[in-house]
Symmetry: C2
Subunit: 332 residues, 2 copies
């Protein structure tokens, strides 16, 4: 039998576990060109909030009473596609379920001796590639520049910081606990990491950015972004990746206007949706990340919750900062 | 004798004519490499508000009790620079005065049979070149795209709209009176022009932008920008040129945050200061604008106030929308 996690109602603001239900169905039959996959890991990511709330962006909203879906890895159980055989490890857009049935053309095979199934998501998946393309393509980091990252202890932020170090930048991470800040500094080699919940975080940021901010990689928005925007240098690049602080607001998100600061600094702010803007370049990004992983220049980091039924809880934890690095759910 | 208009005190918010005073000095003596110019026209521009208030951007603040300065044209009275002779027409950064003494290297000679002294400022000066580089370099207009311009009846906005028409775009101007809107449509060939002071301007904007907004050239900021931002298309470019609605605010400028919209639309917002970012390319811009002027594709438009002593009033009129096109002061 196949357990599936379905969205059963749409919340107005912050979702809760009650918006989801586990149902059990038959394991689907494999049609021509299709592949049946048994799930190993599923990824939960902040952008899914829009899919739960009913807003389309790069993905359509989750349909009610259907299994939700997202990035995942699994093993092939049965295949009628010539490129895949039972036992193969694959990644793709899997159902939040024990089993997914997908066309072979939507799957990517990987070698678990090269990257572990969890690393396939935490280092080579859409989240780290979001950091890769956002930083390199929009941010255009140059040696000696100061890069500030909000949401720095998440999967995207960690990737950005490590790549910025590879590029010779001074890296300042902003995260939500002392433990996270310590990890960024001590394990990942960030130059500075600030817990924005500490009393004097603004003064710490001021000190960490004594030469101003050349690149701001923003995953958070809100009051943190307001503070960083005051410090941008001429020709700064603000990479707009996420605004997690506002995703669950029921009121309009209001704050100081930043456009005048962009003018005075001749600065750029650019948003992107990785799947719509960079999907065709994923192979290039995967190859480079794979190389850096094997050189030890990118350290994998995952927070793993066990049990398919816990995926709503794992998702909600993204908004309360439960995860360090890529939040995954281990299904088997 | 040489009348000079000096800033004598700095206002907190909106300046008034009382912040200025006319003083009379001797006409300065010409030193080596210098040129004495008798002023014909002076340009007043919104960016000068920062110079009055004491904030540096591309220019230093106006010094107190010294003549203010800005773009202007005049005739050479006396020259000890080999490139200039008495009677030559020149443009440059002139004092708000009857006479200016400048190094010849800071002056540009022009032929009044090719462009009138007023057109030298309204079509070939820093304001029209601001529109030229902002639209073409940041906006990157493509045929058939919809371009929306705030402050469309000012010197920058008019240039932007006319160039966007040359590039085959659909052009929607936003201005502050029915007369201005009529002028943009009937004289300059804008596809649509909207008086934002009319009751149903938002509905008019909605109708004018039925295919969304590909380029938003923003001179104004505030509530107008908030409305346009709702309508941007995927990969839209927001050219941040000015935020005149906020220049005289004494309170922080607060409003809806736009960064999330930039993410969802994979859109870019880029600010610039024309003198810092494009000065080296002015000759290219002047040449193209000159060609379009002579082809009748760019129509000059100036609002001229007579009398050096009226320059503070002319400047203040920019904030109450008195000008149609380039606001100039005719000194002689």
């Amino acid at each position: 039998m196949n357990r599936q996690v379905c969205l059963v109602s749409r919340p107005k603001g912050m979702p809760s576990v009650d918006n989801f239900k586990v149902t059990t169905r038959e394991i689907p039959k494999v049609g021509k060109g299709e592949v049946l996959i048994k799930t190993l890991f599923l990824s939960v990511d902040p952008y899914m909030q829009g899919r739960i709330g009913g807003r389309a962006s790069s993905h359509p909203p989750f349909a009610l009473d259907q299994p939700a879906n997202g990035d995942g890895v699994g093993r092939v159980v049965e295949s009628s596609h010539p490129d895949f055989n039972p036992g193969d490890y694959v990644s793709g857009f899997l159902d939040w379920a024990d089993y997914s049935l997908l066309p072979g053309s939507a799957l990517l095979r990987f070698d678990p001796k090269e990257v572990s199934p969890a690393q396939e998501l935490s280092v080579l998946g859409a989240a780290p590639l979001t950091g890769y393309f956002g930083l390199l393509d929009i941010g255009q980091p140059k040696e000696g520049e100061t890069v500030v990252i909000s949401g720095a202890a998440g999967a995207v932020g960690m990737t950005v910081g490590q790549i910025a170090k590879i590029k010779g930048c001074r890296v300042v991470g902003i995260a939500g606990s002392d433990l996270k800040a310590d990890y960024l500094r001590e394990v990942l080699g960030f130059d500075e990491a600030i817990n924005y919940k500490s009393l004097h975080w603004m003064a710490m940021l001021e000190q960490a950015c004594s030469k101003g901010v050349d690149i701001y990689f923003d995953n958070v928005g809100g009051a943190i972004t307001d503070e960083v925007m005051k410090k941008i240098n001429r020709h700064a690049r603000v990479v707009l990746c996420g605004q997690i602080s506002s995703y669950n607001l029921e009121q309009p998100d209001v704050g100081p206007r930043h456009f005048r600061q962009l003018i005075v600094k001749s600065a750029l702010a650019k948003g992107f949706l990785v799947r719509l803007d960079y999907q065709s370049r994923f192979p290039e990004g995967r190859q480079q990340m794979h190389e850096w992983l094997h050189q030890g220049k990118i350290k994998p980091c995952e927070t793993i919750i066990f049990g398919l039924e816990n995926i709503p809880k794992a998702f909600l934890g993204l908004f309360t900062g439960e995860n360090l690095g890529k939040q995954l759910v281990q299904v088997e």
